[in-house]
């Protein structure tokens, strides 16, 4: 069953087009990742979908309701976790939960049961009396998520829940999302981390407010249409300049090494001569497997060109 349907969404801030012709759909029990760098338009899309921003064109339909006509009917079914911590730092963990339970009109015993369950899977029970502002980054995110789960939403929209969170908590948060998905929630989560995309059922790459590609994580890489080579050399600005002058390959710094991208079906050996002039021997060049990040960068450059 299709629970989220966004069609041909347009949104601009004055002259700046933040989202253009964006379409997204998610089924019940689906975990959908929206990936893209900072400023790609992820937050704008999410805020618009949650009714926090006006939009110029398109339609947004959640759980069968049009957001413009029946937003009141959508709200009880929706959980939205903003990118920045949006709870009250001077209220304790328990008080924050109590407050949101109240806003969703929950009965007292209903709330208490739900709270214990949320404590169990988040591990927040130990910190029930601690002020939210004094929690660690990971715990804050778990609390924010818990506050959005208190009313058992059908649709959960999470804006970069793992940004600024330690690796262990990141892993835990994704485990929680997988459990929720199995319970039948539809989850749309944005992330700047490509390794998290692999954990989702489906992913959408976004750049400059446009959809670059959409598909299952393990099928996405088939769209990568070039070869990558890793060069063991210090990526000084001098060498990068000269590499960029070579026709037919693209080079990019990658940590303390350099990645070279050739055109599809191009043989790397034709460049060995040019490269050796730059002091790069054939032995220091080795082919590597492309990753989602490589695909993203390729698509991004094609879209910019």
């Amino acid at each position: 069953m299709n629970l989220v349907q966004i069609s041909n969404l347009d949104k601009s801030y004055g002259q700046l087009k933040a989202v253009s012709n964006f379409t997204l759909s998610a089924d019940q029990g689906e975990l959908l990742a929206v990936a893209g760098p900072d400023g790609a338009g992820k937050t704008t899309i999410f805020r618009t979908v949650c009714g926090l921003l006006e939009y110029d064109n398109g339609t947004i339909n959640l759980a069968g309701f049009d957001i413009d006509k029946d937003f009141d009917k959508i709200k009880p079914l929706l959980g939205y976790m903003p990118q920045n911590f949006s709870l009250y730092p001077d209220l304790s963990v328990e008080e924050n939960l109590y407050f949101y339970a109240g806003l969703f009109g929950m009965k007292k015993n209903e709330y208490q049961q739900k709270r214990e369950r949320l404590y169990q899977f988040s591990g927040l029970g130990l910190f029930a009396k601690r002020r939210a502002g004094k929690l660690s980054g990971g715990m804050k995110q778990k609390l924010a998520l818990s506050c959005n789960l208190i009313h058992d939403p059908k649709i959960l929209i999470l804006d970069e829940p793992t940004t600024g969170v330690d690796p262990v908590s990141r892993r835990q948060l994704w485990d929680i999302l997988k459990t929720l998905k199995q319970d039948g929630s539809t989850i749309i989560v944005s992330t700047p981390y490509m390794d998290e995309v692999a954990l989702a059922d489906r992913a959408i790459f976004v750049h400059n407010g446009k959809k670059l590609i959409e598909g299952k994580p393990n099928e996405l890489l088939s769209h990568f249409n070039s070869a990558i080579y890793k060069i063991k050399a210090v990526p000084s600005s001098g060498i990068m300049d000269q590499l960029n002058q070579i026709e037919g390959i693209t080079s990019r710094r990658f940590g303390s090494s350099i990645h070279l991208y050739t055109r599809p079906q191009q043989n790397m050996e034709v460049y060995y001569n040019r490269l050796s002039q730059l002091g790069i021997s054939a032995e220091s060049i080795s082919p590597i497997k492309p990753e989602l990040e490589d695909l993203f960068i390729q698509l991004m450059e094609q879209s910019d060109a």
Binding site: S86, Y88, D90
Partner: protein, 379 residues
Amino acid sequence: MYKIKFIAQKELWHILRDPRSLIIAILMPIVMTLLYGYAINLDIKNIKLAVIDFDKTSASSNLMGRFYNSGYFSEVTDPVSINDPEMILKKGQANAVLIIRQGLGEAIQKLKSMRNLASVSIDNYELGLIVDGSDANMAAAAGSYSSIIISQVIKDNLPLGFEFPGIRISRQVLYNPDLKSSHFFVPGLIAIILMMISALLTSVTIAREKESGTMEQLLTTPITPRQIIIGKTLPYVGLAILDGFLVLGFGGFYFGVPFIGSTLLLFVFGVIYVIAALAIGIFISTIVKTQQLAMMGAMMVTVLPSVMLSGFIFEIKNMPLVLQIITHIVPARYFLLIVRGIMLKGSGIELLWVEAAFLIALAIVLLSVATKLFKLRVS
């Protein structure tokens, strides 16, 4: 209704957990009452009065005694020159010089022996008072205090039941016969403080939710703007009312400000006034995005006009016409008249309905505009 309770409770937690704002909310009314009622005392006392007595009768020394025992005038030890009485003012040794011409004794005698108006004619007896006008407040006070004292002297010397028509006192001071400024300021302060607490804190609390991003989370929950506004403002209404009582109690016990009229009536109007003030606070918070801007905006839009343009310190009828027109949209203007009327004169609704009508109209307009503008969307 049920959800409003949660918003109000959360807001109360915020207030109770931020000791600074709580201290401000409780201490500010007390400090302001002290400041206005005591330190910034507009009562003129100890006007240094030199006397030139040409009459030298018991009547003249009696008159001098009346001045010096009034509590408003103090004796001057430096000598005053008969030929150049202004000199002592120029030197700053005295603020005023009273000149008692010869014939005071006789004039008083004539007063005492009056039987009927036709039988006695008194010469135009004149007392002279030279006042240093460089301090306008003091000069005005010296003039009015003198006329009060002199009229009292005349009254005392007239035969019983005799109204003497020959003396006209140009100024009558009603309701605050001692001209105590605390009696004027304490009721006014209630108007200022209610406005300050309601508008300022309300605008800051909504701006804080915007600034910290919590509004974004709040707006995706099933709650209406009206519920947010009512829930968030309720604790501040309570705080404002508490502050109102604080000023009232402090003014009453410490400065002896009378309370003649109905407490209930004042309470009802106080609530209406607070609603108008809250509406202004909400209005400001819909425009600004940060707490700091909200605070400054509230200061400019509420506190300043409430102090300057309400008649709290400056009389409205002495203002330029443009400012006089502006005072009509300052809620404090109406509430000030109401609170002074109820407290000092014991006025009831039959005398205050015009002000009341203006205040209610202003509150309704402000509140409906504010709730309409309050957005359900983030920037």
